[in-house]
Amino acid sequence: MHLTPSERTAELTPSQPRRAQVGKLFLLLAVAAIGAICVLPLVIVISASLSSERSLVEWGYSLLPREFSIAAYAYLWHQPDQLAASYGITTFVTVTGTLGGLLLSSLLAYPLARRDFRWRRPLSFYVFFTMLFNGGLVPTYIVVSQVLHLKDTVWALILPYLIVPWFVLLLRTFFAMLPVEIIESAQMDGFGEYRLFFRIVLPLSTPVLATVALFASLNYWNDWFLALLYIDDRRLLPLQYLLVTIIQNIEAINMSANTVTTAAPAESVRMATAVLAIGPIVFVYSFLQKYFVQGLTVGAIKG
């Protein structure tokens, strides 16, 4: 769903064609300027990743590469250990976390949307109270590291974000809008709650599921905070946190140390890694964009 104004005001009144033209031009310029501001910073990063190391040292970053070179990507291709490991971790965390979170969140949200469920009110309070109050970083850190002993495990990157109350709220709102008759007639046909949920409710809810899936995958793919807190083992570094470490230290890339490092293309490699980290999210977004807009408006203005 794209939010475009309907054609209702499309016709300009003929009495003021000149002013309308000027207005149109102004509008186009504004759009171009804003579009540029949004994407140009990324263009700089891409350009830097495609520049020769020498030109970056000499002149710094620019909008277009002054000396085109794919050395950074070639370097990453031949030094794949850390990068491949991080890609693997991030992919695993994103896929597991998104699918698992989607399943458990909708299982939690659906009963909360059922008006005939007697525990609806207390459980809703239980879930949504966590949006208002939380223990904060220190107790959470102690629980995860010293009570659950999740430090340096991949679960520390997945479990804390598995149930996000806001997603549960989105799902519940959507489930509650499904016609009651569908549920009642399925019950009449002898559907149990689980069969009803998986065979009827979920298939009818693809828009909200896609929205939550996109938000959740963005959450996991872009996360570096959990790694900052809980991961010291280099083999478990997710992509974004790898980027945090290599902005200070190019050594992170060639930790395998089996090669004599002959002046690694530090700057451009950093930027190439950054580009590789963005790629998948842009790809996924381009597919799910229409749901993204829809979900946002559902979440913002309930009902």
């Binding site: 939010l3 879930v127 107790p139 102690i142 709650e193 905070f225 807190l229 203005i301």
Partner: protein, 326 residues
């Protein structure tokens, strides 16, 4: 309610029977609820561990926490951690920075989002609208780490784009990551850049809900475009605007850790203007290792933050029940 089991028998002799029957009914109802209850079980348990357990763990702010003794075993010290925190200049600084910067973000962010929504609302061309929307969302997709990279490319001392531009104008370069006075403005720009497009969609949706007859009537009466915006769109947008702003104000005591940690590159020279409660708690916990300071600052944030959320929600609820969180 009990029509299925009418009270056919009464009298003291049958009390035991009634009780047994009531119990049986209770079990039966629980069994009926069992499938739906079991659905919620994994989520309920996860929240118990990752949300409720830490809530109780908040008591460590009143303890001298030692890893070996655990949360419950550590010694109670009353308000000692708080006395320590509030007697330092840190408490005032992080409170001020958190409130001041968040207030800036809310004010400018809202204006930018509404302006973008107005702009998108004027674009009739479907294709152009679509492209603009994709572009506006784009910064929202990037992680704070990447935003930190981009800002670094712009602001770095040698060969940063901004310093190169300054040099081209014959101005001396600025060592941005050492000069704290520029950072409220820099953080504001970055924050608005990243989230204004995302927020504008909410306002755009509200604008699209406005009955087009209003505009037609206004046009017939000779209202200019500007008048249509200031007299129709903005007033009709006011409820959504107030609601969104209040909800943001409710969260004013919580800072976006990713922004403050990555974009400033955690540069100690900038703490004067960029250190917020969240970064302070993190640093005390992980870098300095002073759990007393970290947990008391965290407690302070949790409690004041909670009161602000409650207050703002109370006001939202008064205005429009549907938009209140509870």
């Amino acid at each position: 309610m009990n029509t299925a089991y009418p009270n056919q028998v009464s009298g003291p002799a049958d009390g035991g029977l009634q009780r047994a029957e009531r119990k049986y009914r209770g079990v039966k109802r629980l069994l009926r609820d069992a499938p739906l209850l079991s659905m919620t079980l994994p989520g309920v348990l996860l929240l118990l561990v990752f949300a409720y357990l830490p809530m109780f763990g908040i008591v460590i702010a009143f303890k001298n926490f030692r890893v070996s003794d655990g949360i419950w075993g550590s010694e109670w010290v009353g308000f000692a951690n708080f006395r320590y925190l509030f007697s330092s200049s840190d408490a005032w600084r992080i409170t001020f920075n958190t409130l001041f910067l968040n207030a800036l973000f809310i004010a400018f962010g809202t204006v930018a989002a509404v302006a973008l929504a107005l702009l998108m609302n004027e674009i009739r061309n479907r294709w152009l609208n679509r492209v603009l929307q994709s572009f506006l969302f784009f910064p929202y997709l990037l992680s704070w780490v990447l935003v930190g990279y981009i800002v670094f490319a712009l602001l770095r001392m040698e060969n940063g784009l901004v310093n190169n531009a300054l040099a081209a104008l014959g101005l001396p370069p600025v060592n941005w990551y050492m000069e704290s006075k520029y950072w409220p403005a820099i953080l504001l720009l970055v924050s608005v850049w990243k989230s204004a497009g995302y927020n504008s969609i909410i306002y755009l949706a509200a604008m699209l809900g406005i009955n087009p007859e209003y505009y037609e009537a206004a046009r017939i009466d000779g209202a200019s475009k500007f008048q249509q915006i200031s007299r129709i769109k903005l007033p009709l947008l006011a409820p959504v605007l107030t609601m969104m702003t209040l909800l943001q104000i409710g969260r004013i005591f919580y800072a976006d850790f990713g922004l403050f940690y990555n974009v400033t590159r955690d540069s100690g020279m900038l703490y004067e203007t960029t250190d917020v409660i969240d970064t302070y708690v993190f640093r005390m916990l992980r870098t300095v290792g002073d759990i007393g300071m970290a947990s008391s600052a965290g407690f302070y944030q949790a409690v004041v933050g909670f009161l602000l959320v409650l207050l703002s929600n109370l006001i939202v609820r008064r205005m429009d029940k549907d938009n209140a969180l509870f």
